[in-house]
Symmetry: C2
Subunit: 194 residues, 2 copies
């Protein structure tokens, strides 16, 4: 597109601008529409210019994934640990569904390598500890809750394009039902379901 620049001239790119453009591209054309070449076009740059700010397409997507988790609401520090765990998973579900194209990629990658993913994982362990669950049992509970939350978000987002769709409301309350069953099994359940 932009042939007015010659080698050596800056285009004003930055890592942040590249990630932002990637989010725009996904929003407009879906995950399959996110190619290095389309991304370069959007930024008015040749494809290889991106590699000055991003190590690879895989790395770019990894950063995108972890950035999404920054939007998850952290529970208050002093509150009820059971409610905190419920709200944390529930907020994660909502945040994931706000970026439906990225959800299927989550379980494919190792679930917890980015900064935000690790931080959320530690918050979970802290709240589990406060609820009386520690050691290996806490890590078991943590994995089950993560799988349920990301898995159900993936299920919901893939069902969105289906002909005989369920209403998102129904799938959300389905997610909540499972979450309560799990919290009860782990031993941190509130008295009543919603």
């Amino acid at each position: 597109m932009n042939a007015s620049r010659i080698p050596g001239q800056r285009a004003g790119l930055s890592r942040g601008r590249v990630l932002g453009a990637a989010r725009e591209q996904i929003a407009e054309a879906g995950l399959e529409g996110l190619t290095m070449r389309a991304l370069a076009d959007r930024l008015g740059v040749t494809p290889n210019a991106l590699y000055s700010h991003v190590e690879s397409k895989t790395g770019l997507v990894d950063d995108l994934l972890d950035d999404v988790l920054a939007e998850v609401d952290e529970p208050a520090l002093g509150g009820d640990p059971r409610a905190a765990l419920h709200d944390l998973m529930s907020s994660t579900y909502d945040v994931l569904l706000a970026h439906p194209d990225l959800v299927p990629v989550y379980l494919a990658r190792q679930g917890a390598r980015g900064e935000n993913a690790q931080r959320l994982g530690e918050i979970m362990l802290t709240q589990l500890e406060r609820a009386g669950i520690g050691g290996p049992a806490a890590r078991e509970a943590q994995r089950v809750l993560i799988v349920h939350t990301i898995g159900f978000a993936a299920f919901t987002s893939s069902a969105a394009g289906d002909p005989r769709v369920l209403a998102p409301n129904e799938l959300r309350s389905n997610f909540e039902a499972g979450l309560h069953w799990l919290l009860a099994g782990i031993g941190v359940a509130t008295q009543a379901g919603p």
Copy 2:
């Protein structure tokens, strides 16, 4: 590779042979190694010849996915419905882990379009009914159990390439723990965990 054939000569291809070669290719080179061109090479054929037996690469993978589910053990008809549900999900988990490269694709696709997937879904509903769960509650339970099983299989298979790995045994008993929590919550639990 094979330049000895001229247009019009048969190569002896069939849908079954294509699917079989696809499985071999995945086993040797992983899912990313499954390309139409590599598949054609393996069969001694030009890439476009495959389109006489398969509608697209996506369709091929869909068939591969559903074929895997044919290996799942069906529960005995007359037994305890709680045990049947447990064994069915447990067998599904094992079968999925026997094909780790295909697992991440499952949740990305609509979970239940193939023949075998639908058949297993109906078996679940039958056993839930026998356990006293019917109607919308049964479909809720069904979704939660499916998400847990496929999700945990995906988690386990992605953790297999990890440096600080957990033993597969540990992840399997982690899966079992979550499964028992869910069955208890649904209302079809056995008295004791494993």
